[in-house]
């Protein structure tokens, strides 16, 4: 009979012991979460004041980030969005730290993976910001150069360059974030290769007549110049 009672009590004792170990960890997680959220709120408020002081929204309007946000149907102030992003990042970090306080091996592993992913997130964000600025600068340069040299489709060319650069940047970001890298690489190669082949075919086959006309025009201009030179010497 005693054995039978032990058989019932032992798992309960074990459960109680596990619970006794878990409760302080759980309380620690709650404290970490609470403190983290409070700190995140304070930082959010300070960040909002700092961004207002440096006219971040106005800078964002001029740099084109606001336009980028609007394209993504985000209609809040850029500084408000940045503050929200920072706040939620801090909440997630706090949550991860809190979860690690539970000392559950599976969660610990997840937390480690998350923290090792943060640098990748950061570098992806940097690629996005710098890439977007650079693509805008390059497409504007192409537009000005093409328009100044009298190219009829200057705007279209600039837009095409911009789109291609954005595709390249997105591929780099996906690769950086390790999101299906082999598929991204293959898709990027196919898309980019396809574009290059399409351009090659368009100019090589579709543009034979145009190319002939351009070459003939160049040749006849040179002939004319030579003839003019001779007359000038006389």
């Amino acid at each position: 009979m005693e054995d039978f009672i032990n058989l019932i009590l032992d798992p309960l004792k074990e459960l109680f012991l596990k619970f006794k170990v878990f409760v302080p960890n759980f309380l620690a997680m709650l404290v970490i979460l609470f403190a983290g959220i409070v700190i995140a709120l304070i930082i959010k408020r300070f960040l909002a004041k700092f961004l207002a002081a440096i006219n971040f929204d106005s800078w964002s309007d001029r740099m084109g980030f606001t336009k980028l946000m609007r394209r993504g149907s985000m209609w809040s102030k850029p500084s408000a969005v940045l503050c929200e992003i920072v706040f939620w990042l801090m909440v997630i970090v706090t949550l991860m730290s809190g979860l690690s306080a539970l000392q559950i091996p599976a969660i610990d592993q997840l937390v480690n993976q998350f923290f090792s992913y943060i640098p990748r997130l950061f570098s992806a964000a940097m690629i996005l910001i710098i890439g977007y600025l650079l693509s805008g600068f390059i497409s504007r340069t192409v537009l000005i150069a093409a328009a100044n040299s009298g190219f009829h489709y200057a705007k279209l060319l600039a837009q095409a360059v911009h789109t291609m650069l954005i595709v390249l940047i997105l591929a780099m970001i996906m690769e950086q974030l390790h999101i299906a890298p082999s598929i991204v690489l293959a898709a990027f190669s196919i898309v980019f290769g396809g574009i290059v082949i399409a351009i090659a075919i368009a100019f090589g086959v579709g543009g034979i007549d145009a190319a002939r006309r351009i070459i003939e025009k160049e040749a006849s201009q040179k002939r004319d110049e030579r003839q003019r030179d001779e007359i000038d010497h006389i």
Binding site: N55, D57, S58, D61, R62, K67, R70, S73, W75, K77
Partner: protein, 403 residues
């Protein structure tokens, strides 16, 4: 039927005989292929509950030559906005509604403010300016026509006649102002009759011949809210956001273009709209506020063209204005008598007294701070400071209308 006499330094296009509306609209349809037309309608939601708007929508649904209609809706909730969309649905032309109180457009105004642009308080001026920006952003139209949304006697002939001089490529006009008589059982249009014209003539008497005063005096109805212009003009013009809107816009047209390219056209045999109360005791509302704003706008324009205002000149102006206004009352009394119109001479004299008071107020405000007339910056300047603003504005309006 009016006479054909040409007055002033701008061209006057009269209504002679009974021109065929069908012919006008057929020609406009052809011309609009080369010069597409946008119609801008600044409106309040309350106007959709009044008698004017159903008539305007019914007439506009018969118009085929417009490329787009941009309606700027003010003082409207989200529900009202959807009701107005439904209300405008009989019109076959593409209608875009700018919801001034919507979240996205509010954010656009916020963008202007944080980049140092004072686009003023809500009102017709600010609404019209934003609508020009949207038309410029879309780049589909070369001509912008604008009329109010409280016209009870609206007919599509008004729109056709307003657009014709600017849309017709053979005429070479960049700006056309509508004019009409304001007759019911009596003469309306007190501010134009008893304030602007006598004031301009008094100023001409005191300052001497002046190009802007001659230009302003050439308009038969300088305060009419109906006009048509090229989009190039909409891009460079700065407009006031207060009641000085009409006079201020004319000042900018005078500044940027030769009077040879400006005309006025008779757009309606009769015209009736919402009437403003005089509010003689309160300068912050009604016709008194309008008077003060108009006077400030005229003073500022003249000062910017080199006229020096002094205490003495302003004192003489008040006396001179009063004399001109009294003479004007006599002229209109005779005009009313021969046409069998009711004419309350005492009421007219009371209006002149109130206007005199308002001019006095405007002179004081002007002397304290000559820079008080608020001008909204032109779109060229805005796009330089915020390069993506056109795209953002287009996205905001399209997103609102796509919901």
């Amino acid at each position: 039927m009016s006479d054909f006499y040409q007055t002033g330094i701008i061209t006057t296009l009269h209504q002679l005989g009974k021109p065929s509306l069908e012919r006008l609209e057929t020609e406009l349809h052809e011309f609009s292929k080369i010069r597409p037309i946008a119609l801008v309608l600044p409106s309040l939601y309350s106007e959709f509950e009044g008698p004017a708007m159903p008539g305007i929508v019914s007439e506009l649904s018969k118009v085929k030559y417009l490329k787009e209609i941009v309606l700027v809706l003010d003082k409207a909730s989200e529900k009202d906005f959807h009701r107005v969309r439904e209300f405008m649905s009989p019109i076959s032309t593409e209608v875009k509604i700018i919801h001034n109180d919507g979240k996205r457009i509010s954010e656009i105004y916020e963008t202007f403010a944080r980049n140092g642009f004072n686009v003023g308080e809500r009102g017709k001026g600010r609404s019209a300016w934003l609508a020009y920006g949207y038309v410029l952003a879309r780049g589909r139209s070369d001509v912008i026509a604008l009329h109010d949304c409280d016209i009870i006697t609206y007919s599509r002939e008004l729109l056709a006649r307003l657009c014709y001089p600017v849309v017709n490529p053979n005429l070479d006009y960049v700006f056309c102002k509508g004019y009409y008589s304001r007759i019911s059982s009596k003469m309306n249009g007190r501010v134009t009759r008893l304030l602007v014209t006598p004031l301009v003539r008094s100023l001409q008497q005191l300052v001497g011949p002046h190009a802007f005063l001659a230009f302003l005096d050439s308009f038969r109805y300088p305060l009419s809210g109906e006009f048509c212009m090229t989009t190039d003009l909409a891009r460079v013009n700065r407009i006031p956001w207060d009641w000085g809107l009409e006079v201020g816009s004319l000042a900018e047209v005078h500044r940027n273009y030769s009077p040879r390219r400006v005309c006025q056209v008779d757009i309606a045999a009769n015209y009736d709209h919402k009437h403003q109360a005089l509010s003689a005791d309160d300068a912050s509302k009604g016709l008194m506020k309008m008077t003060v704003d108009i006077c400030k706008s005229i003073f500022r324009t003249l000062a910017s063209e080199g006229v020096v205002f002094s205490d003495g000149l302003f004192k003489s102006l008040l006396v001179s204005y009063l004399r001109h206004a009294e003479d004007t009352i006599m002229k209109y009394e005779a005009d009313a008598a021969i046409n069998g119109l009711r004419f309350d001479r005492h009421e007219e004299a009371m209006a002149v007294e109130a206007f005199t008071k308002a001019i006095g107020m405007a002179t004081r405000i002007y002397m304290e701070n000559p820079m008080t007339t608020p001008l909204i910056p032109n779109w060229n300047r805005v796009t330089t400071a915020i390069p993506g603003i056109f795209e953002m504005l287009e996205m905001a309006v399209d997103a609102d209308n796509g919901q």
